[in-house]
Point group: C2
Chain length 328, copies 2
Amino acid sequence: MTSSSSSRPGEFELIAQLFAPLATDPGAYGLRDDVALLAPPAGQDLVLKTDAIVEGVHFFAADPADLVAQKALRVNVSDLAAKGATPTGYLLSLSIPQQTSMPWLTAFAEGLARDQKAWGISLLGGDTTATPGPVTISISMIGTVPRGEAIRRAGARPGDLVFVTGTIGDAGGGLEILRGGGAQLSDDARTFLISSYRCPSPSPEFGARLRGIASASLDVSDGLMADLGHVAEVSDVRIVVDSAQVPLSEALEKLWGKGVVQRAVVAGDDYQIAFTAPQSSRNAIFAAARDCGVRVSEIGRVEQGSGTGLLDRAGNLISLSEAGYTHF
Amino acid sequence: MTSSSSSRPGEFELIAQLFAPLATDPGAYGLRDDVALLAPPAGQDLVLKTDAIVEGVHFFAADPADLVAQKALRVNVSDLAAKGATPTGYLLSLSIPQQTSMPWLTAFAEGLARDQKAWGISLLGGDTTATPGPVTISISMIGTVPRGEAIRRAGARPGDLVFVTGTIGDAGGGLEILRGGGAQLSDDARTFLISSYRCPSPSPEFGARLRGIASASLDVSDGLMADLGHVAEVSDVRIVVDSAQVPLSEALEKLWGKGVVQRAVVAGDDYQIAFTAPQSSRNAIFAAARDCGVRVSEIGRVEQGSGTGLLDRAGNLISLSEAGYTHF
């Protein structure tokens, strides 16, 4: 099982060249020890999350490597943001086939560095392995939240309002374009949707502002209605969404036309925050959104009951063809 | 990217059936939230480690699934053990192709459960994804160590002795047998070596006893000499090993015959603890080994200088054909 590729340096050189400079936290010891050591901050809970992305499943082989790296980080940052937590560092497990080139890996490390700088986080440890299969990137993100203040999925109460950040369905639209669709769209519209697929834009700054305000929260990854269904289930409530209020981009409306809402709310990979909050918090929510440069839309309400419903303008239920994204 | 296999339940059912019962820590919320929350214990440092294993690289498709799961956990527990840390929980990232069956996954979960019980650890969170490639399992292990007491790679001092647990090279021998070698060996010998490859046996109990005793420590995964080279490098010392003292199993001696030592010290996947300690600690080390049921051998000494050397009975350097295992 020992082999080396002529096109790139060996494992130890690769770690020293590309990844050790990313291990800025002193507890990572420049990746020159077996483990990372962290002195947990007083008064904080630790938040842990792992998500993997796989070439051919969550990204395309032709996607720019720096964006692949950022997507790998951001799908995890997104979960922390939805809990009101602040990311602090991460572990990287990278499985790469022989043909993965040094330029690809260099760009990959640059993408990690860019997001590390943006959020002030550090690589804490990593593992690089060979694989006969696709590039597989597993990130375990570590963050902190003031003790007891994490925003859970459970907690939505009848009478609460339902909100979501950003626009919904764009990543699904971008995926369709990367698969050959959307020839009728302008270059700008295509680029916007593809960018949404390739690299989500979570805002832990906004998530942190939701602490003490949101009654329940999660990130939208399986599809808006499926994810609100998770909130409804663990909160033991019913969530209804007004289809006319679901935020959609102009580009997506052009791509999907009539029926765009029904498709958008079951598309996956949005990595937006969906949350519930009492009506009395509405002003505070929109103020926080302005401060953080985040778009927020009020899209529905929490009722007694169970499950979810998407309503048309007349208040009638719209049936959805898919329950939402599942990973296989 | 939404699809489902007729041979096994969907993602959410799989998590509920197989993995949620493993999330015994209350902070894991039964895997029904986006993240795990941990209140870090007072007076402890957190220890973090990630290692992935890939079908066809670190294990064979025909290996029993419960042992694959245990190997995935244990390669990480091994790192914590070498630092004197106690594992407390882990994140699991599991990428599986369509053909991975429910019986395989059930056995995989049973393997996790077995080791969780043995070490009192909990699944804290996880991610299951589809892959067009081989089964890929990435574990991020979290543990604790009394503040400031983790045993580092740096710290070996000239005059210290060098020790290693268990026997060396058995996993490399097991790999050779699984590739068709060792037909001359007894069934018992073959089974022993194969077991060493499939499922290492780290001892965090013994590792914890080394706190305050060992001057430097790491787990042997790249090969004994390569790993001692890591200690030598970061401790800025030279490490010499007496080849006659390297602990070898009878089975491996039968498999590799003359030259067994030279091969054993560059074989990978031992997952034993190699450590240095002052001579005054010798008695305490062997007492701890007895208490923990761990074999420990004194194999060499730390000198001024750099690099490593393997010495024959006459004290002459033995040249080694390989620097040790690298992961690609």
